[in-house]
């Protein structure tokens, strides 16, 4: 700062001196500090407000409860011993097909997708993969606007009326379970009158993210989700951990017992996302599948054919 002092004396004659002693040394200093401080404030205050307001959106329906009033904790148990990728019925995976038909999921979305993974000792297994409904959900953590949120029932939903389409949740999801409406999604005639709900996601909305919603609205109506109904081998159980019960539509099991007796595991357990979807190891052997019989039929979107000019995209 010593050069500054030296300079002021030298340069004083250079610029015209009006001679009024402005007591406004604070003016410029204020600009330095004030501008730095003030401009982000509008955002800060609304952020604080949003935090205090209880900004999380809620799903539309009532929270599902057991008869004695405890909140239900939805779960899905997928018994891989019974999943043959629908090879035996020679159809595309029927869980996916039922889900697509029930939710009018636009092509190429497979909210429950049957992957074929290699087994370490050779051969493959089919892995039906819905949204894992994590209890430590990476997608919910990163969403800037709380458009995707955890529900009291332990599921994760998306409010497509709030989603801004930044897609950071898709970057965050380690299970590849989020889908984006890249174009204008086609709307079937049946869905035209449907009122939108985050629990059903019909109609789909351009520029927003979608995924498996775990069908809480169906459970409220005492109906099992589409995928559970669609599975010809009854490999998918859906239930409530709170009441400790799950059903595949054919039998009812005690969930905790069924999980522990069959060495249930989570996908990517190492990530500690704590999913609500459990898997029971196997490769379709209970329904007679040979692990070396590879391949399944490709998924189709039959409802899309009924919509004129539906534009699709690739995954």
């Amino acid at each position: 700062m010593t050069e500054h002092n030296g300079h002021q004396q030298d340069s004083a004659p250079e610029l015209p001196q009006r001679g009024h002693r402005m007591g406004r040394r604070g003016v410029l200093r204020l600009m330095g500090l004030g501008v730095l401080g003030i401009a982000p404030l509008p955002i800060l205050s609304s952020l604080i407000k949003a935090t205090l307001d209880g900004h999380l959106v809620r799903s539309d329906g009532e929270v599902a409860r057991t008869p004695d009033g405890r909140i239900r904790q939805w779960t899905m148990i997928i018994d891989l011993r019974h999943c043959d990728g629908c090879q035996s019925v020679q159809k595309p995976p029927q869980c996916t097909a039922a889900c697509i038909q029930g939710h009018f999921a636009p092509e190429p979305m497979e909210w429950i997708q049957v992957f074929e993974g290699d087994l370490p000792g050779g051969g493959t297994q089919f892995i039906p993969t819905p949204c894992q409904q994590c209890q430590n959900p990476p997608c919910v953590n990163v969403c800037p606007v709380a458009a995707t949120f955890s529900t009291p029932e332990g599921t994760v939903l998306i409010d497509q009326d709030r989603c801004i389409g930044c897609r950071i949740c898709m970057a965050a999801c380690p299970y590849d379970r989020r889908f984006f409406n890249w174009g204008t999604p086609p709307v079937p005639p049946e869905a035209l009158l449907a009122s939108y709900s985050a629990e059903h996601q019909v109609p789909a909305k351009k520029g927003t993210v979608m995924k498996c919603d775990f069908c809480p609205d169906m459970m409220r109506a005492d109906v099992l989700p589409y995928c559970v109904q669609g599975c010809p081998n009854n490999a998918i159980y859906y239930g409530d951990l709170e009441e400790d019960v799950a059903s595949n539509g054919k039998e009812v099991v005690i969930a905790s017992r069924f999980l522990s007796e069959n060495q249930a595991y989570h996908l990517r357990e190492d990530l500690k996302t704590k999913p609500r979807v459990y898997y029971i190891p196997g490769h379709g052997e209970a329904v007679g599948r040979d692990a070396f019989n590879k391949g399944r039929l490709p998924t189709q979107w039959p409802w899309m054919k009924l919509v004129n000019g539906a534009r699709t995209w690739k995954r």
Binding site: H4, H7, Q8, S11, A12, E14, L15, P16, R18, R21, M22, R24, R25, G26, V27, L28, R29, M31, G32, L33, V35, L36, A39, P40, I43, L47, A50, H55, F115, E116, I127, T129, P138, N141, V142, C143, P144, V145, A146, I164, G165, C166, R167, I168, A171, A172, P174, D176, F180, N181, W182, G183, T184, K206, T208, V209, R311, W313, K314, R315
Partner: protein, 455 residues
């Protein structure tokens, strides 16, 4: 003293020249930039109509050129901070003729970068949801906060040292330029009269701003890296990501500054003020940062590559051997090693060598940003075939428009505002006149300090 005032007059004339004279080439250039921007706006209009389906992005590689360009622009915005604030704090006097340009670049690239986040949104109509429903936990909100703070701070930091020069413009250009400009200069020079009190206040304000802006700048690029590093994707799961991004940001920022400096020097005849010394000194910075980048790459790839988990193996194959290999080796060799060599070797350590190194660095750093985004997404999460990404004409057009906007804003800035910090350069020169010892030190003549060039 006579010699001094002639020198001062020439300085003012040079600084005023861009504002008072406009050549036909300038209009051609502006028209060209506007054409590119217009085409980009058309492409973006198509994107608004049809949705992001017109881009090459899809579910599995869900960010592409837009986010790359965003990261790149935020990166080069570090030019201003480094040159201006860090060199001002360390009282490096050679910085004075180039600080203004560096600060221009900072502000302009921040604006362009922020624009690309909005362009990338699926629902730009809902962008205000970020303020209505913003939640602290999201890295996107950290970005919004950091970038808006940085834009504000760098505007203040650009403006404060410009006040005496704006007052000079106001006084010297009276009657020579159109009314709105006079109005603008009068407004922005905030009744600056150069009184002792005013100098004192400004000095204090600049000191505050320059100290505040350094942590802000570091935080900005750190949180930009965190939109990647806060996910569970293997290639981004790195603790050094923030530091690595900051280093890369300064690296590309200095390179961009050198390129812009070379162009403005040629176009507006600033040879007397921006000399080979400035290029070589900035070249040293570039060289130092190329070493830091090499170090960052080694520590990043050795710690993950040594263990070679499944995802890492896939990532390494695609980067070093597979589909990205050509460009990736260009980044490593052409963008880090070669620029370092150009600066280290004495016979390329001149304006041309440094500018060539800078162009390589700018290109390579863009490539690096692209690979961080795209190759990170490409590593499969589930048993499916790796997807591919190729930008479409829409993305390329919008990106070209982004770069054109960057150039246009700099071009317009130069036309309205003083291109070199007149009073700082003058002060520097005058104090050197008064104190011969200081001059020798400042201009690096006879006894060379280590690393000097003696030109």
């Amino acid at each position: 003293m006579e010699e001094m005032s002639a020198w001062r007059e020439r300085l003012e004339r040079t600084a005023l020249a861009p504002v008072t004279r406009t050549s036909w080439a300038y209009y051609v250039w502006v028209a060209f930039l506007l054409t590119v921007i217009g085409w980009g706006i058309y492409a973006y209009y198509r994107q608004l109509q049809d949705g992001l389906i017109v881009t090459g992005m899809r579910d599995r590689i869900s960010w592409g050129l837009y986010i790359t360009t965003f990261v790149f622009f935020i990166g080069i915005s570090h030019a201003g901070t480094l040159i201006s604030a860090i060199l001002r704090v360390s009282q490096a006097r050679w910085r004075t003729p180039i600080t203004r340009m560096a600060e221009f670049i900072t502000l302009v690239s921040l604006v362009c970068g922020a624009l690309f986040v909005i362009i990338d949104l699926g629902r730009p109509d809902r962008v205000l949801n970020v303020i209505r429903y913003g939640r602290w936990q999201s890295p996107i909100i950290w970005d919004v906060l950091a970038i808006t703070t940085y834009i504000t701070a760098s505007t203040a930091y650009l403006f404060l040292p410009m006040i005496p020069d704006l007052a000079l413009f106001r006084d010297r250009l009276a009657g020579r330029v159109s009314g709105w400009r006079m109005w603008l200069y009068r407004l922005l020079s905030v009744r600056w009269q150069g009184t002792r009190a005013q100098w004192h206040s400004m000095g204090a304000a600049i000191t505050t701003a320059m100290i505040l802006i350094i942590p802000i700048a570091v935080s900005v690029h750190t949180v930009v890296s965190w939109i990647f590093a806060m996910t569970l994707r293997e290639p981004w799961n790195s603790t050094i990501f923030g530091a690595f991004f900051v280093a890369g940001a300064i690296f590309s920022g200095v390179a961009t500054l050198i390129v812009v400096m070379a162009i403005l020097r040629k176009v507006y005849h600033l040879e007397e003020y921006i000399t080979e010394k400035h290029f070589v000194y900035l070249g040293y910075l570039l060289g130092a940062f190329s070493l830091i980048m090499v170090y960052g790459n080694v520590s990043e790839y050795l710690t993950t590559g040594y263990k070679m988990t499944e995802g890492t193996e896939f990532h390494f194959r695609q980067l070093f051997l597979g589909q990205f290999a050509g460009f990736y080796w260009f980044y490593l060799l052409g963008g880090l090693v070669l620029p370092g060599l150009l600066i280290l070797l004495p016979w390329t350590r001149n304006i041309w060598g440094v500018v060539a190194a800078s162009i390589l660095v700018v290109a390579a750093m863009w490539v690096e940003r692209y690979f961080i985004v795209v190759s990170g997404f490409r590593v499969p999460l589930m048993p499916y075939d790796p997807s591919t990404y190729a930008p479409t004409w829409v993305e390329l057009s919008v990106m070209a428009a982004g770069f054109a906007l960057f150039a246009l804003l700099i071009t317009l800035f130069v036309k309205i505002f003083p291109i070199i910090a007149i009073w700082e350069v003058a002060e520097d020169e005058e104090s050197a006149e008064i104190q011969p010892a200081a001059r020798r030190f400042a201009h690096g003549s006879a006894p060379e300090p280590a690393g000097g060039v003696g030109r």
